[in-house]
Amino acid sequence: MRSQREASRAVAEVVGRCRPQVVPAYPITPQTHIVEALGAMIRAGTLSPCVFLTVESEFAAMSAAIGASFAGSRTYTATASQGLLYMAEALFNASGLGAPIVMTVANRAVGAPINIWNDQSDAMSLRDCGWIQLYAPDNQAAVDLHVLAFRVAEALSLPVMVCMDGFVLTHAFEPLAVPTQAQVDNFLPPFRPRQVLDPGDPVTIGAMVGPEAFTEVKYLSAQRLDAAVNVFEWFAQEYAEITGRRYHAVESYRIEHADTVVVALGSAAGTLYELADAVPGVGVLLITMYRPFPARVVRGLLAAARRIIVLERAFAPGAGGIVTADVRAAVAGTSAMVHTVIGGLGGRPIRLASLHAVVTADALPDIHFLDLREDVVRREWERDPTVSAMEVRHVH
């Protein structure tokens, strides 16, 4: 049954129903409402036995999560933006050691300039840290993906990030269905750790590995990560049988007869569906699972597309689109043209009219910044003494 509530609250409720035992938390906008609500539930004893650890940094949050996970407890935390970057070292450690932690990332821009609003620069910058990354296209998915995340994480002993666009999703009030305790219990078995710190059976976790075996350790964990595509689909089917809501690693909309397919991650989904409804020949491909990248699925779904536009809420300075590179590799050998559109940076809305103009334009550059304010750019260029150095670059 759906009821009206803030998405952060719904996420906190569903995480609570996953019966976490340790929640280390450090506040950062726009993740705060999630951990505040969880903290209140834990304080009230409704999630007992569960410990809420108010740590002094995101680095400590992820570190405590690693300790709790290897002590055999189901562990959850949430962060965003600078906080995600501040825990970067511990993220690689969690995946390298195989700690099945689930973390919400309330996607937010990364400074400088400091900006609290939404884009996906944070999670994109850590796409290669060995975590499974899921991007919620809407708030119902954000709720359900957390339950799936715990199941997949614990089945593979790998950590999972559930990314949901900050404010756009986290702070939206809408009718949402939170799976009941019985449904979650039916789907998510108690946590059985692969390795645990047990005085009765002492193990060494986190040994130093040299050149003689480091490649093999990395190879094995990459194999495990790759398996997440199929494991996710398997559990998503089981989840659908319990809740009636089916998720896929990649979702498509109106791509059967589409000449142009717009590829995106996250909350641009709704706007893109409207675009596809409005413009004949336009389809949408939504990547829910970005790491591991389901390249084979993407290639299959894009087989008929002649033009692919990757709409990205982040970009790689000095290189271009981030998701674009993965999509290009997936469709390599086909004749499709691949373009990058950078939009929604630092909280700027991705407008239907702007997307409409992009897909109906006669020609598209390789990289297009959506709704770029030319007047601001020109004004800054005129007063910037480094412009002459940039002109030298253009000459060469």
Binding site: Q21, V22, P24, P49, C50, V51, L53, T54, V55, E56, S57, F59, A60, A61, S63, A64, A65, I66, G67, A68, S69, F70, A71, G72, S73, T75, E89, A90, N93, L97, L197, D198, P199, D201, P202, V203, T204, I205, G206, A207, M208, V209, G210, A213
Partner: protein
Amino acid sequence: MSTDNGRSLSLATRTAGGRLVPPAQRAEQANPHRRNALTSGHRACQGCGVALAARAVVDAAYRASGGKLVVVTATGCLEVFSTPYPESAWRVPWLHSLFANAASVASGVAAALYAQGREDVRVLAQGGDGATVDIGLACLSGMFERGDDVLYVCYDNEAYMNTGIQRSGATPPYARTATTEAVGGEPGNPPGTGKDLPRIALAHSIPYVATATIGDIHDLEAKVVNAMGVRGPRYLHVLTPCPLGWGSGPAETIALARLAQRSGLFPVFEARDGDITSVLPIRRPVPVEEYLRPQRRFAHLFADPDRRLLTRLQEFADSTKARYGLM
């Protein structure tokens, strides 16, 4: 069961405990049935103070916890020499995560054990001085402040030895390291008292803070036992000479640790709830130069005919003795 099987370390009463010492007064390290939590075969240098201290500390904690102990270790010499894959010298459940986060990882372990109703299992975190006083200080302070049930042990060898003897916040004044060379008017580490972490720990008013050296096994073990008898955040700071970094002989490790205490440069004390409750008095005081002379890291102090810097270090030792009432 008799323990008089010849594995005792010495006949002298101030060492681990031999046949002439009543069994109850012998150190855990004289117990042939001790856990040997850090067992032989690891790759520490000869005379490594950390290896000696870690075995003594973890064995004592193991016994005090009735064998129900989990150990978290920061990146550093101890982690590197004890766990080169596929080997491990640890005979306790042991987790190494990162350099800076041993305290936070231990907090997480303790939280999980609490949530599981397994508070009988105790948590010990350990790290070197770099991991503790420098890069991991925020995590450690957080662990103190929250009241997490963890004993954190710092093995202080007064520099970043694992990376090649660079200065840390615990490096003493004038010591030569790879980043504080003995050149210029103020050769070696710039003067100052360094980061005095035991006092920082005291300022958190945590239930237990103590210092010890590897030179007094009875005192070291007693402090581990005392710390394990208390719940909440506890801190033990152990001076562990490093032959490689200090430029001393491998056989001098224990002697140097004792000289550090006898010179007054390293005060040995115990504190509860933020107040110092006892100090180890200096019974046979020595001038600082007796402690400094065997160490090549201080060789430049003796090249100066005016012994200017030695005088300053003696003044510092004297003020430390007065501050803690060591004489």
